[in-house]
Every structure is written in C-alpha cells, then in structure tokens.
Point group: C2
Chain length 150, copies 2
DNA sequence: TTTGAATAGTTGCACAAACAACTATATGCC
DNA sequence: GGCATATAGTTGTTTGTGCAACTATTCAAA
C-alpha cells in the first residue's frame, strides 16, 4: 500500500481543506469582533467588485468559483445589507451588473487590513519561497481539475 | 502597496480554498457517478472511523476540525444511511462512541480508490517534492491558527 | 455530600452550497 | 420572420456550518 506515486497519508486533509477553513474562521472572527456584519463568502464577492466594479453575476461565478444560485443568493444578501445593487444591463437584458454602493466601497480598507493580518498570522514563520511553491501547487491542482476535463 | 512580506495578490484564494473545493467537487462527482449516495463531509467522518472505529463524537470533532453540532448532524445522517451507529459509553454516559456498521466498513475500499484517483488527477505533473512543501506549508498554517492563540 | 464548574452532546436559527428545474432574453440558422 | 439553442439569472430542496443556548453527566472542592 505505501508505494504509490505520492505519500497519500495526510493528503486527505487537502480534500477537506483544513488550512483554508482555519484561515476563513480566523478572518470571520476578526470581522465579528470588529462589529462587521459580513460573512467571508460575502466578503469574497465584494473583493472581486473592489477589483472591478460592475461585473455581471456570471463573472462573479467564475471569479469566486461558485455556481449561479450561490451568487444569486449572495448578491441577494449583499443587497439587503445595502452594500451592492443590481443594475440590469442596457445592451443585454439577461445580465445584471453588480455595483458597489458607497457603503460597499467603504468596507474595502478595513476588511483588507484584517485579511492581511490574518494571512500574516497564518504564514508566520513560513519562508516566502515555500509560500510561493505552495501557491504554485494549489494553482496547478485547480487548473488540473477545472480547466482540463469536466 | 507591493512591498509586503509576501506577495499577497493571489493569496486570497488561500482563504476561499479554491483548490480544496475543486478536489472535493471532483471526488463528489465520482461518488455520484458510482452510485454512492454519500457526501464528502460524510465520507470524511467515515475516513476517521476506518482509521479508528468507535471513537467519540468529540474525537471526530477534533479529527475533522468541525464543531459539535456539525458532527451531531453528520452522525445523524450517517445513522439514517445505516453506515454507523451510536453506542453510549458504559464508563461515561455523556459519551457516544460511533461504530461502523458492516455497510459502513464495506465502503472503505471503493471510496478510498476514488479518493486516490482524485488526488492523482489533482497532482498530475506536480513534482513530489513540491507536494511535500505544499503539505508542510498548509500544516504550519493550520498549526499557526489552531494551536497557538484563538 | 452538596454545589459549582467542566465536558459531551443536542437543538434552533441564519447563512451558504450543490443540484435540478424553471423563466427570460439573445443568437443563429432555415 | 420563426424556431431551436444557448446564456443569464431565479427558485426549491437537501445538506452542511457556525453560533448560541440548552440538557445531561462527570468531576472537584468546600
């Protein structure tokens, strides 16, 4: 059983994503203790809107690697929080463009600060070159499973 | 903005765990097309029971990095599927020991085969030493966030 | 021995994810 | 133009997660 291509033993925690879960929980706690009523999932949508405002729900699906119903409901909740608003596209009425409100724009600085803090805590004592290797591997894994077949 | 300790740019996908999500989805699809009515989360509980049968729900919490209510419900559903059963401990009646049924035991071989397949597909063309670095980094991240403070 | 704290587990609630089925709009081909 | 097909988004259902509040049992200390 041991002589496979990789040592599989502890690799199954890859599947369950314990590390990313730990990071997400830490960041969520920082949000909560800062009085931000915002989930990590909502934040991840805002994150892409801060990079490019006014993208469609479908583009948010691709950017966040979520399916359409998930984005529909995340945008629903972000609208309820008055952080974004849906604007039907003039040229293609199937499309909703999602725009940040003033309130949504205002959250960028504080939350990105907390996210940076969280990553610094997570990566404490990890040499930068190892972080780069890790990023590279995770990117290949993602590409292997998403771009290729399926 | 760029001169931080780490290049943070693409690091935020760490938080959202896109790679582990991709792996989990691929494995779930394999389960579905094999006619296995089993979620990845249920499988992750069975995985620890295959390693050690009869552990308590609290031990499953620690092993799977989930909170107690999550394990309560996962065990509920695994019991409904007749894959495990709760047995109250004789020595400490607060504790439920979780035991695999015959059906639960039978799933090990097939599902681990599919999990191995999935990891091979995920890690295709990734050199083993880089996988090791990646594992090491993810372990440190987990330890930094879970063991230390919190 | 009793009382208070700690531990194991359950339940209620809000939010999120995956899948299927659905509506509405756009596009391309006859 | 009209019809088939593709695309964008929504809704319903089941499952899982995180938090808070709760019950039951154990343990420890006065």
């Amino acid at each position: 059983m041991p002589n496979n291509q990789f040592k599989k033993g502890e690799l199954y925690s890859f599947i369950t994503g314990k590390a990313s879960t730990a990071i997400a929980r830490r960041l969520q706690k920082k949000f909560n203790t800062s009085g931000l009523h915002l989930t990590i999932e909502q934040w991840s949508v805002l994150y892409h809107l801060w990079k490019q405002d006014g993208i469609s729900q479908q583009e948010l699906c691709n950017a966040t690697y979520r399916d359409k119903p998930s984005i529909t409901r995340l945008v629903d909740n972000l609208e309820k929080l008055s952080l974004v608003r849906r604007v039907a596209s003039e040229t293609d009425r199937r499309i909703n463009r999602i725009y940040l409100t003033k309130q949504g724009q205002k959250l960028e600085e504080e939350t990105m600060q907390l996210a940076d803090e969280t990553l610094n805590e997570a990566l404490l004592s990890v040499p930068p070159d190892k972080v780069d290797v890790c990023k590279e591997v995770l990117q290949i894994v993602y590409d292997n499973l998403v771009n290729c077949n399926d």
